[in-house]
Amino acid sequence: MLLGTFDLHTFLFVLFALTACLFAAGVLFSSNIVRMAFHLVLSLGSSAGLFFLAGAEFVGAMQLMIYVGGTLVLLVFGVMLTAQHRFLEMRTNAGEWVLSLVVGGALLMVLLQAAFSVSQWNTPNTERSQLAVDESKAATPIGAALAGVRVDKLQQKDAHLRAGMSGYLMPFVIVSMHLLVVLVGAAYLARPRMAVRNPKGGG
């Protein structure tokens, strides 16, 4: 079913998907820590490409800015500082390979099984070719909804339903507060402390 309808969209989709998976594998198999970080950057970047392909520019740009532009910059930053001699080459011995294969394989099975159980995904999707790139939905309604105005549901006829739609302001605020608390906690926990038995015994 994949080869039946060859068009630009599927070609790009396959391209991005393949790069994402290959580089993710690259992260696993490369021993040089800096190369590992760089492969991670490329795989997340290509998943951002997938979002753009699906027409969700807002989420794609979000992925680029926050994931790749933010966290991975700091990750590469950290890796660069520590990637001296003993951290550079990390060998995984045989035992760990077996364990990781087992756990990884199990997770893969679960995912595959879930993917094939979804009905629409394995029937040939006739109107896939209509999903032209420019049919992307505008992001402004999402922005307005985040600000508490559900502009995309203005045409809702019955008053009762429309009243209930107060937009996503409340969950948005809760999530940001939660994130702030987590960050402060992480900073506090990461404080380097060393427990030392009282050396002199006395007071």
Partner: protein, 400 residues
């Protein structure tokens, strides 16, 4: 007590190992071949160790086989940015040994030439310091003016940079006719240009941020390390050999009205309207050393103007150089002169023959540079070129 054996939690900083970094010898900001070995912890420099000697040409050993007049070209190559002042120092030292009487006209000629050399050297110091801090344009403005001075030197003695002009006994040639008028024309057009330099660097907010309060050196430390010249006066020590130097050197400046550029009881001399000292600038920091050099340029202009008047009114010949193999009396003599970078001393020991037994050159930058170890401790990596640049060192003079 109960808490005796409870574990004591010690806050530890993340263990970082030091980075040994090599700045130089072929590094753009180290004014020639100076190598600084820096131990840095991240951006903080914990230890600086200067390595010199890359430009050592054994000038002192060669001095033991040449007559004093033949050694003059070697003194040019020591501080190649102020060759005239070097020749002056060595000539005065030899004349002191010979107890040689100098004609009136030669004295004023030497003052004019030495102060022109000072301006040229300070221009390079200013331009190169701008380069150290990242701005390229002042360097070119400075060299535009310096070119004019070098043209004047070329007319006087035929050489622009290493111009072995001032020799024991006077100078190799008299000033050509029309030279004084050209010199005056240069000074007239140069005065307003200095305001440009002040606007570009001295009062520039970013320049002040990069230099004010950086590399602060107390007066006691400056004296203790033997720093001299603008580096010493930048720390507020009122010491200028043109006024408090040796008799033979200060008599050259007799009759010249000039004030020593130093911050005495809170303010610099007010004979011209200089830009004000910014509040962030602490006495003895990089900014003050730069500021003293800029003010000395204006001071040198006044001296040259007076020198031109004296030279015009003085009579007698311009001081022919002494014969090549004049016998040097037995004895030893040491004389220091106020060069643009500090006090350049020459120590001459003779055993009665025409060739000195020992010639020793005391370099001002040698002592100024010895301060970097203490001054750069704990500063940021970007401050090292700022501090070393403010000491305005020339490797030729340090390594001799």
């Amino acid at each position: 007590m109960a808490t005796a054996n409870r574990e004591q939690i010690i806050e530890l900083d993340v263990r970082t190992d030091e980075l040994l970094v090599n700045m130089g010898p072929q590094h753009p900001s180290t004014h020639g071949v100076l190598r600084l070995v820096l131990k840095t912890d991240g951006e903080i420099v914990t230890h600086v160790e200067p390595h010199i000697g890359y430009l050592h040409r054994c000038a002192e050993k060669i001095g033991e086989n040449l007559t004093p007049r033949q050694w003059i070209p070697y003194t040019d190559r020591m501080d190649y940015l102020a060759a005239m002042n070097m020749n002056l120092g060595w000539s005065l030292c030899v004349e002191k040994l010979l107890q040689y009487e100098l004609p009136e006209k030669a004295r004023h000629l030497r003052v004019i030439i030495a102060e022109l050399g000072r301006i040229a050297s300070h221009l390079v110091g200013m331009g190169a310091y701008g380069l150290d801090l990242g701005t390229f344009s002042p360097f070119l403005y400075a060299f535009r003016e310096r070119e004019k001075i070098l043209n004047l030197f070329e007319e006087a003695c035929g050489a622009r940079l290493t111009n072995s002009y001032i020799t024991p006994g006077g100078a190799t040639a008299d000033l050509p006719p029309g030279w004084l008028e050209k010199c005056e024309a240069f000074l007239d057009q140069f005065e307003p240009v200095i305001a440009e330099y002040h606007a570009l660097l001295t009062t520039n907010a970013i320049f002040i941020q990069r230099t004010a309060g950086i590399g602060v050196m107390s007066a006691e430390m400056a004296i203790d390390y033997g720093c001299t010249g603008p580096v010493l006066r930048g720390s507020g020590v009122d010491h200028d050999l043109r006024r408090d130097g040796e008799e033979r050197y200060t008599e050259m400046y007799d009759g010249y009205a000039f004030e020593v550029i130093v911050q005495k009881d809170g303010h610099y001399p007010r004979d011209h309207d200089y830009p004000p000292v910014p509040p962030e600038a602490v006495l003895g920091d990089c900014w003050h050393r730069f500021y003293v050099r800029m003010l000395e340029v204006v001071q040198a202009i006044d001296i040259i103007r007076q020198g031109i008047e004296f030279y015009r009114s003085a009579e007698g010949d311009w001081g022919h150089p002494i014969k090549l193999n004049t016998k040097l009396p037995k004895g030893e003599v040491y004389l220091e002169t106020e060069c643009p970078r500090g006090q350049m001393g020459f120590y001459l020991v003779s055993d009665g023959s025409a060739i000195p037994w020992r010639t020793r050159a005391r370099s001002s930058c040698f002592c100024n540079l010895s301060v970097t170890e203490e001054l750069c401790r704990g500063c940021l990596l970007a401050d090292v070129p700022a501090i070393v640049g403010s000491l305005d060192i020339v490797m030729g003079e340090i390594d001799r």
